[in-house]
């Protein structure tokens, strides 16, 4: 689905991503782990062109991406969930979800509402449809954000540390929703510090450090038998 070749990203003189090459297949769940500042989030944000790579190529569905042309189309197919939820505070939960499908996909209001209610039921928040985001807990907001992304019927979802801003007891509900999506076959790229989730749900785990992909492989390999010294050190610290 995605193939990256020699992707690099610089912010001024700061090289955040150095020669990243990798791929993501349809239906795959890829978890990206690594210390803070390793470039994980930047890498994820390059996939939907929120950051424009300094050099390198991105292939999406077999065709090379042109950041000037393909932004909107790509983003309609590749949804994203943020660390800080970023729900629209002036809209209630229902409108947060129906807004983009109605505006962009020209969905009829009743269809969009029906879809939104289905998605809210799926994330366990059907009773919160008329609340405003500020009245919800972080975990609830994040589940609404997932529903909002799903409402665009994306082919893939990017998760940028979706549970890092949550109180520990609220993390579980969000991970549960993500697990369910994974079992339904959604293609997902997840930047996370939740090693348990990565181990259980990921098809492939990528360990990044200092802008490089240091090691990648199945969760068993990365967590039980890492080859690289830096991977070992990192895992020893977080687990």
């Amino acid at each position: 689905m995605f193939r990256l070749v020699n992707l690099e990203k610089k912010f001024g003189n700061l090289e955040v991503l150095k020669s990243i090459s990798m791929f993501i297949d349809y239906g795959e769940v890829v978890c990206i782990i690594g210390p803070s500042g390793s470039g994980k989030s930047t890498f994820l944000r390059c996939l939907n062109l929120l950051e424009i790579p300094t050099s390198g190529r991105i292939y999406y569905s077999g065709a090379i991406l042109d950041p000037d042309l393909d932004c909107k189309k790509l983003r309609r197919e590749v949804g994203m969930v943020f660390q800080k939820f970023n729900l629209f505070p002036m809209f209630n939960v229902l409108k947060n979800i129906t807004y983009a499908p109605m505006r962009i996909n020209k969905m009829k209001e009743e269809d969009a509402k029906e879809l939104a209610m289905d998605l809210l039921a799926k994330v366990g928040l059907a009773d919160k449809a008329n609340e405003y985001p500020s009245k919800l807990s972080g975990g609830q907001q994040q589940r609404v954000a997932i529903a909002r992304a799903l409402a665009m019927k994306p082919k893939m979802l990017l998760f940028d540390e979706p549970t890092s801003a949550l109180d520990p007891e609220l993390v579980g509900d969000v991970l549960e929703v993500m697990k369910q999506l994974a079992t339904e076959g959604m293609t997902m790229a997840v930047v996370t510090h939740e090693m348990g989730f990565a181990r259980e749900v990921a098809d492939r785990v990528i360990f990044m450090d200092k802008g490089y992909i240091v090691e990648e492989g199945t969760p068993e390999k990365i967590f039980s038998n890492p080859e690289n010294q830096r991977t070992k050190e990192f895992l020893a610290r977080v687990i």
Binding site: M80, N86, A100
Partner: protein, 230 residues
Amino acid sequence: MTLHFAKAAELLIPSLFHGFGVVIQATVLGFLLATILGMIIAIGRLSTIKIVRGILYLYLELIRGTPLLVQLVYIYYVVPLLLNLIASMFGFKTNIQIASVTAGILGLGINYGCYMSEVVRAAILSIDKGQTEAALVLGFGKYEALFRIVMPQALRSIIPSLGNYLVMMVKDTSLLAYVAVNELLLRTQNFASQTFLTIESYTFLAIAYLVISIPLSYFVKFIEYRLKDK
């Protein structure tokens, strides 16, 4: 010396009532123009195009570096002359004039537009970048994200400041007297110079402004309070 408030009241107050109409007209239209200009300038100054930012910055320096009174006089007396001069260079003989109220509205709008643009710009910048990004990743364009998601949130936060500018503008309409707009100050000046009731006339004038500005500022406070409530 005896004061003749009753006599002054009888003759001046009806005239001031007519002046209210002019003040309200100039304020409403001037404020509308200022708001529109303020938003356009604010958005332009956040543009990624360097030359647009540069031109607007220069424009702001120009307007903010000169007094409103000078701008009013310039628009009323100088701009028509300049336009006629330019037309004559192309062989046209014109007699362009700007009506005094029009000049007043333009001056107020242009001047206040600059100050309001800074408020709008700060408000837009104060909205979390995540809001724009959330709209972008759903497939909205840059401008859709700005106008549909960021601006509505920014505008809410600037309504109190805009209200204060409105009250200020009401008072600044007194400057329009210098471009022959028959508003409160000019009416009072004429009356005072004809009747020599100087103390009485200007006292009534001051009261006339208070009659507009005090209720208006309470109204602004009320709106502010209502917004905070939500």
